[in-house]
Symmetry: C2
Subunit: 190 residues, 2 copies
DNA sequence: GCGGCTAGTAAACGAGCGTATACTCGCCGA
DNA sequence: TCGGCGAGTATACGCTCGTTTACTAGCCGC
């Protein structure tokens, strides 16, 4: 009887690449760009260090690909305009008590230093949060309002990360909803 | 005529220490903890690298002393309760367009990685922002409200840092004031 | 005048990083 | 059967970091 009952072939470029990508996604999200070494990634993926360079060019290239491959927070931002504050508030409330699942958001919180990485993160933040909100809002100062809502959103993550998670009460979520309504210049729902 | 007209004596332990401290304050504020090397600090202070270790124990020790020596944002947090949202909003608006002068706030934005540094920054954030606001507010959920206001405050800095500065309009400041009133659970001023 | 305390210096250490190189080995088509 | 292509490997390179060590030299009390 031959071994290799599973379909996981050895020497499978695509599969190894994928394992590296997923290990990187997990580690970058957990610890931030600069705290994660390529050795950690390779080790977590059960692959060789040199393969990071071979498959992604560099550590930054790998990070970029992780960011690009994210499904993002689109579910929150897409949807009807009136419900946006509530959806933002509920998502933000989730982030008061738990680390985000999305490497983008985690990276936004944790990856500060490297200018190249900052540029990647910035572009992504614009693309997945600020611009969609701005488009949904419309109006003359939509950009400023989208920016402010994004600020609240990010700040909640910063506070959790810095001073620890805390479970929000229902009243907190309501207050947060009102805050987002105010930021976005939308009327409260009846 | 002898040289040394100034009162800056050479071989002055206290003065050298002070120069190192001020160079560190400036650099940490500008670039964040991990981006600044002890060589940069020593060079900016015109001192030898080894003196950082001698006078402050370590880079982290120096950072801790920089944080501890900060005058902080006390002016905003101290004062009457009713005016707090406005003061917060004005200070936050300032931070929309300019980098903060305070190394604490800058470090809050930029120093993410090292756990020891994170602990220092967290303690400082609690001491200078969350706890004073909480004390000023009073009431049952004062902590949650102080946390939320702090989140908005920090988030604004994050957005400026990530996507660039933007000068707020007077309407933005008004909206921000309302946001802080909401966060803090205070009534709007007449 | 001189010995010792001490501020300041130069240089190196060891570790960790991202990256690059030279290699091994197994599979597959001819 | 065999040659080569390519996935995967082991290792080292060059660099920068924080830290430490051994040393130099100036001031002060005696």
């Amino acid at each position: 009887m031959e071994a290799q009952l599973t379909d996981a072939r050895p020497r499978d470029r695509a599969a190894t690449r994928q394992r590296l990508l997923e290990a990187a996604r997990m580690l970058f999200g957990e610890y931030g760009y600069e705290q994660v070494t390529v050795r950690m990634i390779a080790s977590a993926a059960g692959a060789n260090i040199a393969l990071v360079g071979r498959y992604f060019g560099s550590k930054a290239g790998l990070f970029g690909e992780v960011l690009a491959g994210e499904p993002t927070v689109r579910a929150v931002v897409e949807g009807d305009r009136a419900g946006l504050p509530r959806r933002l508030a509920e998502y933000a409330a989730e982030r008061m008590s738990h680390d985000p699942e999305s490497p983008i958001l985690r990276s936004l919180e944790r990856s500060a230093g490297d200018p190249e990485i900052q540029a990647l993160v910035r572009d992504r933040l614009q693309a997945v949060l600020i611009e969609p909100i701005e488009a949904l809002l419309g109006g003359p100062d939509a950009h400023a309002r989208a920016r402010m809502a994004t600020a609240v959103f990010l700040g909640i993550g910063s506070v959790r990360r810095l001073v620890g998670p805390e479970t929000p009460s229902p009243a907190d979520v309501d207050r947060l909803t009102a805050v987002f309504e105010l930021c976005l210049g939308l009327e409260p729902l009846p």
